[in-house]
Structure formats: C-alpha cells, structure tokens
Amino acid sequence: MGLGTAGIVLPSLPAFSRTVSPEQLLEPGLDVAIKKRLADAAMNAAKSKGATYTDVRIGRYLNQYVITREDKVQNIVNTESYGVGVRVIADGCWGFAAVVDAKSEAETAKAAETAVAIARANAKLMKEPVQLAPQKGFGEVSWKAPIKRNAFEVPIKEKVDLLLGVNDAALKNGANFVNSVLFMVNEQKYFASTDGTYADQDIHRIWPIFDVTAIDPKTGKFETRNALSAPMGMGYEYLQSNPADKVTGITTRYNKGYDMLEDVTAAAKQARAKHKAKSVEAGKYDLVLDPSHLWLTIHESVGHPLELDRVLGYEANFAGTSFATLDKWKSKDFNYGSKQVNLIADKTQVGSLGAVGYDDEGVKTQKWDLVRNGTLVNYQAIRDQAHIINEDHSQGCCYADSWSSVQFQRMANVSLEAGKTPLSVANMIKDVKKGIYIIGDGSFSIDQQRYNFQFGGQLFYEIKDGQIVGMLKDVAYQSNTQEFWNSCVQVCDASDYRLGGSFFDGKGQPPQSSAVSHGSSTTRFNGVNVINTARKI
C-alpha cells in the first residue's frame, strides 16, 4: 500500500521464492515418477469430490539475478520457488488452489479438495458453465529448450567479471554512470490433466541489460542509452559473441549472440553524442524501424489487441479491451494493415521466449496466422474460449507465471513476417526523402483498446534524401494502430530478421508476468506523426 519502500527497482520474483545458494540451482528437482504420483493423487481427490476436469501443475522456478553499478556488485539473487497448483471444473465453474513445497500425496489431494470447494462457492455467480475445447491426452511426454550452455552452470565470478568489465568500458568511453544486470531463469514445469497428458518441461531464459548515463555539467542535462540486447529463450551461449550474429550499420545490432562489451562501448559514446544531437522538429516523417525497436510496437499494437480474453472483456477492469472486435474478424475483410503486413503467432520458434512443447493446459504448441496480407484472420485463444471463435481446438496460449498462479490466456510470440523481395536496410533508407531511423526501444504507452499509441526509442537518426545526416533527440511518434500498419510500405528480407521481446509482460489481477518474443526485419512506415518531447521545468 502507499508508496512502499524504495530500493532497486527489480521485477518481482515468482511467488513464494526463497533465497538459495547458486549450487542449489543446479540440484535436480523431484523425480518425474514422484511428480506423477502427486498429480494423480490430486486428480483422484478432485474427481471424488465431483470435479469434471482437473489439471495439476508442479513447478520449480529458479532465478538468478546479478546486479551491478560502476565498480560495485550491488546484489546477487538466487531464488527457488516450488509448489503445486490444482485447477478444477466443478458445477461448471473454475476453482483453483495451490500449496507451497508440497511433496506428499495428502497435500496435493487437499489442494484439489479446496479447489473444488472454491469452484462450488462461486458457481452461483456464473451465467453459463465453462466450456472446454476437447484435447487429446499425449501420455507421458517431455520437452527441453535446446540450450547449449546452462547459465546456472556458469560460475558467478564469470558473470560478475563480465558485468564489471562492461561497466568499466562504459566509464572509459564517456559514461558518468552505468548499471548492468544479468537475469537468468529456469522453469521446471510438470503438467498433468484428466485428459491423460503428463508433460515434463525444462525452459530457460536469459537477459543481459545495462543503462549508461552521460551528464553535461555545463547544461545540467543528462542523456541515457540502454542495451540493444534482446531477452532470449537461450542459455549462456547468447553471451558468446559471434561475427555472424552481428548486424553492422550506423551502430551494431545483434541476432542470436550478443557482444555486451562492444554494445556498451558504443552506448557510452552515443549517450555523450546525444547532448549535441539536434532536437527534432515535430511533423510527419517516414519511419525506418529496426527490429530492436519494432518488437515493442508489435507487442502493444498487435500482440495485445489480438488476445481473445481482451476482445471478450475479461481484462476490462485492468489491461482493457480491444478495438479488434469479433465483428471485424467475422467480416473477413478488416484491414489491419497494408498488403505487406503478415503477422504470425508462434509458440514453437526456436530461441524465442514463448517457445514450449505444451502450454499450461496440455495443448501442443503451434504456429498460426493472425493477419494475412493485411487482413485480420485470427486471435490467440485458450481452451475455454475456442468455441467463441468457432474453433474446435485451443491454440495453446495458456500460461501461469508460477505454480501458485492460476493459468490464463497469455500472448504467443507475435512476429512480422520478413519481406519476400530481397531488400537491405541500406536500400530501404536510400528511398526515404524525409525520415527518422529508430533503433532500440524506449518510452511506450497505448490506450486500453489499443488504438492510440506513443513510442520513443534509444537512437534516432535523421534521414534526408536517402542519407543519414545526423543524430536527433526528443523524438516520439504517435499514431493509431490501423492507420500505422496501413502506412507500412516495405519490410526488409529475412536476412535482417531478429527477435526482440519482453521478459516481464504484465497482465491479470493479481498481476502475472510472462516472457514473449517478437521478431521482424527492419520496416518502413510512411508519414507518421512525430512530436518533440523537450520541456522546460
């Protein structure tokens, strides 16, 4: 309540996380045979109390954060959270209960009984019973993220040395201050349902970030530049620099291998250079948006409005609803964007944050079209929504951020398909008369139905008559989702395709966090409204 206590602003850890030693992060979790017994006990207990469907999630969530500033390690956080969540349908209503550290069949059975009792207490508030899309059982299956080096096996010292080296490079190249952080996550998830699936999954994520600040004592102003890294569904191999993963140009950007030292060196110089950059003149510009920037615009203006729970009103009190209403989808000719715009949902993409084998209600993951040749063709749905869009199956978008949270519909990786005609960034810029080239994500805001948005960025370059002529600052663009995607005129080819993403996408009440990637190639949008954000106080 109120302001709470201040401190380092860190994303929240999974519920019930306890601090452990780095070594404990490498200890094996429960044996899969034990997990099956715990799950069966819960399913049997729920059934005996009258549940018509039950699923059980046994989760072990491991997190390691290494946090530094300048020459100091501020914190090293190692946490583990283990427990069991049981979800049931009884009297046509969902019920959910979770139990921390449950290792006995009696505990999971009791949680199942509580879930049934909650379902029954709330059934009287339902208008119609929950309707689940049919789902076949897959038996005992497993899925592992295809990582090359488990980040938890890398000694803490190696991580600290990397970050302090990054900070040192920033300070030597013009930064006054620098913060750097490594986030590493391992989700060990077991799912069982009365449909007959027992899925054991091992998911890894990593995100190296920094921010540098350069102060000009003469003017009293400060400028910042954040990392151009992406959060990835990868192991520590993401931090192995590889020339093939570098995209050269006005500044270097990265694909599946990130050179943190090189990026921070550039960042310090660029933060310094921003002090001398020209303040943008407000007006209409053609925008050339790098994937390190465009991912966030895709996330906010495509990913969220095409979540079916938002469309239906389930998020009305918090995140909001959606302009992409069912009638627009049913018309089969709602013009979401120009013909160049193809937007894909994909829960299978290798290296992405959203990739898993099975979602949190036992549906095998898949890839499907959301917008094809500019026309809205589909949404992202889960099992209790599929019938509303006349589907006989779920698309596998169900996720809970912890064993203690109830699973609900979350965003799949949503990406812009690369252009089919060969086109490089240099050739795209060559045709722009008055434009701005934007790299990196910055400020972001969009309304509760996802019409009107405003985005900033990290680096802005002015384009005049096909040439980059210098750096700009105080840039933000405002547009409307449909207008913006209809102003899309060109998408670079697949050789420029890269992922960006959100490590901590918030939704729901109580809020849950989810990680999701968004891929694209550099893309051009014509005639977008740019404002100048400089103010005097």
């Binding site: 339902m126 201050f177 009305a316 203690s404 805001s445 309304d447 009107n452």
Partner: protein, 441 residues
C-alpha cells in the same frame, strides 16, 4: 498471523545461532485472498497463506541471505549456516552500512480485524453486491478485490527489534454499457473492510458508464482539467503524483540525473519548484492512511514534509548516501498526504467555466526523466464542463505532461481522499497538455 511476542521468540532463537559479525532476521507472513470477475460473472478466485523467515549474515562488508518457511530448530540453524556460507563467498559491497541498533518507533496500527477475517463467502457476497445492480441495468461489470492481512517482524544482533501488522483491501470496478460505447470506473482502498461498500463504488462506475456513452471529439490542445484522485494516483499503474514523489531521491539528484539536480552540481533542495499551495508530507500515524512505523531496513517512519508551500523541504536518503553527505538518513515515506481544500468534486465542477473532468489516467509512462515528462491517456469517464455543469462526454485524449509543470499550473484543490494508501485532493489544473485523440472507450 504471529503476534509480536511469538515473532520475537522465533527471531531471538535464530539470532542466538549467529556466528557472523552481524546478522538480521526478517520474519513475515499472512494471508491474501482475491476474487476477479468480468462479463458479469466471476472468473477467478483464490486465497493463500504464507510465512517465511529470511536471514542475512554479514562478515565485514560481505552479506549473504538465505530464507526458509519451516520453523523447527534444525531448519532454522541450517538456514543461519547457509546465510553465513553465502556471505563468505559474496563480493564485498563497498556501500555496506553496519546494521542499526535499537530504535524508537511511533505507535501505528494499520490493522483491522474485520479485514483479517475475510473469507471466500465474504468475497463472493461483495462481488454479488457489485454485479447485481449492473445486471439489473443491462450494464457489464468487470472488477477485482484483493485483501491482505500480514505481519512483518525484524530483529538483529545489534538489538534492533520491530513488529508491524497490517491489513488492506483494494477494490476496483469497470462498468461498460452493453453496446461498448460507455465506460466508467470506481475504486476504493481501505484498511478496514467494514468501510468498503462495493455497491456504492459500483454505482459511481455505473453512473459514469451511462453518462460517457456517445462521446464527442474535442481538438487536442491545452485545457483546464479537473483531475479526480484516481487520475493522480493509481492502485494498478504508474501515476503522475507517485512518479513525482518517487523521483525525489537525494542520491540521483546529487549525481546529476534527476529533475532535482542543480545545474553545475548539487540539488534543488530549498528551491520553490511548485505553486505555493502545494504541501506534501508523509505520516504513518494518519488515521485515514495508517502505515507501518518502520522502513524495510528498520529506520523509523516519522512525519516528514517533502514539499512545503511549493518549496522542496526534504529528500529521501539511503543510509549510505546520508553518511557520505553528513545528513540524516530520512527513508522514503510509506504513504504521502497532499494538503488540499474543502471543496467537494461537485463544488469544483460548479466553479469551472470551461474545462474537462478526468476520471482516470492510464498507461502512464516516462518520456523524459530530466523534466519528469510523462505520457498516458484519459479513460473510463471524460467529460466537458461549461458554466459549472457537465455538458457532454468527450473522447479520450493522450496527454504529455510533467507533474512539475502541472503543480505550477494549479487553479484549485478539493478535499483530499484516500487513494492507493495515500491522501490526495482532486486538482484543477490549467493548460494541461493533450496531444492527440483516442477512439478507445
């Protein structure tokens, strides 16, 4: 919920196991329950109970933390040994501050038995009280209620001992017309649930939903606005007033990266940066917004004025930074109270010749930390006022505005109300900057 004495017994036992230079123990726990509904039916509901103990051991400037939620002697001692093990291997923290000794705390009790006793049936009835009037009027409700009853106790080998228990309930509801053309919002947060009427809050949202249908478009530009408290502080989003208060940290200002940094070095402490009617302070003993008597690191929370008659009077310091600067280490407040006037919102509207009434601002994000420029949008009830009356609903706007500029363009202040655990008055502001229109309802 452990009592003060029960918690102290456990903490003292854990402290007796210490072999490190310094050790602190934090024991906390409680119950949280929630119910969520949408499309006029309940969607999810849950309750959980948790208790955990965290030990931080220190050797020199090396600290290590371990946590546990089992409380037998062997587990507790094992946790202390583990924290010591982690501390020995930890890098030195040059900014480490020795632990505090015994402190004197104010008497605060932000706790109500009525809230601590809430159960699934109470939540279900409270939800029915919100849903029923909406169903009867063919309106569509989506809402959320979360209740918490928690305690937190700390102790250390230097003799510090502190205990706090608190309860809270947050309720919010968004009511939409069946055709989706109108939307209204209501919210309330209380310490004592007997002071919460979900029906009354829902009726406010229903009124706004019905009145906001078929909004007209006004040109974006600078307008006089009346910002309701929910437009100034949010329970669920960033907000202009909380952003301002949270940006007052002394270290950031001294380092030259804050709106309170002074050209050429130092801070703007003592400068008049806001309208002279702006006074903001924290007070954990205020009966309307009671708060815990200590901060996370054990420092006493006292009444402290941050802004007085427009002048920056105090800034929060970390203990490390305060020592470096030779000043008192004032912790950030647990709540804040902005002084206001005596007018009700209705009276403020009556006294407005031309303006816009804003129920709520949404998706508020920083644009420029140097000037505290933020962007976001109006939501769930935006109305045009002329000659002291609400004339018609208007389409939502995007704003780009700084709370610093906003609190210089102050026209009037109403009677403060509780929002997000703070007390904030509705504010009438001139020249509030709307930069574009939104079709969102």
């Amino acid at each position: 919920m452990l009592t003060k004495e029960e918690a102290k017994t456990i903490i003292d036992k854990v402290l007796s196991y210490s072999k490190s230079d310094e050790m602190s123990v934090n024991l906390s726990g409680g119950r949280t329950g929630n119910i969520r509904y949408a499309r006029n039916a309940v969607s999810t509901s849950g309750e959980s109970v948790n208790q955990s103990l965290s030990v931080t051991s220190v050797f020199g400037k090396r600290a290590g933390t371990a946590t546990i939620n089992e409380f037998d002697d062997a587990s507790l001692e094992k946790t202390v040994r583990r924290a010591e093990e982690i501390a020995r291997l930890a890098p030195e923290n040059p900014e480490y501050m020795p632990m505090l000794g015994p402190q004197t705390y104010l008497n605060t009790d932000p706790y109500a038995e009525s809230t601590a006793k809430m159960d699934p049936n109470y939540r279900s009835q409270a939800t029915f009280d919100s849903l029923d009037p909406c169903r009867k009027k063919n309106l569509v409700a989506a809402g959320y209620m979360e209740d918490n009853a928690r305690f937190n106790a700390i102790g250390n080998t230097k003799g510090l001992s502190a205990y706090n228990r608190e309860t809270s309930v947050e309720f919010s509801v968004t009511v939409r017309t069946a055709d989706g053309l109108g939307s209204g919002y209501g919210t309330s947060d209380v310490t004592d649930v007997s002071k919460l009427s979900t029906k009354a809050v829902t009726e406010v949202a229903m009124g706004k939903a019905q009145a906001s249908a078929s909004a007209r478009a006004l040109e974006p530009g600078k307008y006089t606005v009346i910002l309701e408290p929910a437009a100034l502080v949010s329970n669920v989003d960033a907000s202009l007033m909380v952003a301002l208060i949270r940006s007052m940290d002394a270290r950031s200002a001294d380092e030259g990266r804050s709106f309170l940094s002074k050209k050429g070095g130092g801070t703007r402490l003592g400068e008049k940066l806001f309208d002279e009617r702006v006074t903001i302070y924290s007070d954990p003993t205020n009966p309307e917004v009671p708060n815990g008597a200590f901060s996370g690191d054990g420092r006493p929370q006292e009444k402290i004025t941050w802004i007085e008659k427009g002048v920056v009077k105090n800034m929060p310091y970390s203990r490390y930074w305060a020592e470096k600067k030779g000043v008192k280490a004032v912790p950030p407040g647990g709540n804040f109270i902005m002084e206001g006037g005596t007018q009700s919102l209705a009276e403020m509207i009556k006294g407005t010749e031309k303006g816009i009434l804003v129920t709520r601002l949404w998706y508020i994000r920083p644009v420029d930390p140097q000037t505290l420029l933020y962007t976001g949008l109006t939501r769930d009830g935006t109305f045009y006022i002329e000659n002291g009356q609400i004339k018609f609903p208007v389409k939502n706007f995007r704003f780009n505005e700084s709370p610093v500029i906003m609190l210089n363009n102050l026209e009037a202040m109403g009677k403060p109300v509780r929002i997000g655990g703070n007390l904030v008055p509705p504010l009438k502001i001139r020249d509030f900057t709307f930069t574009s229109l939104s079709d969102a309802v």
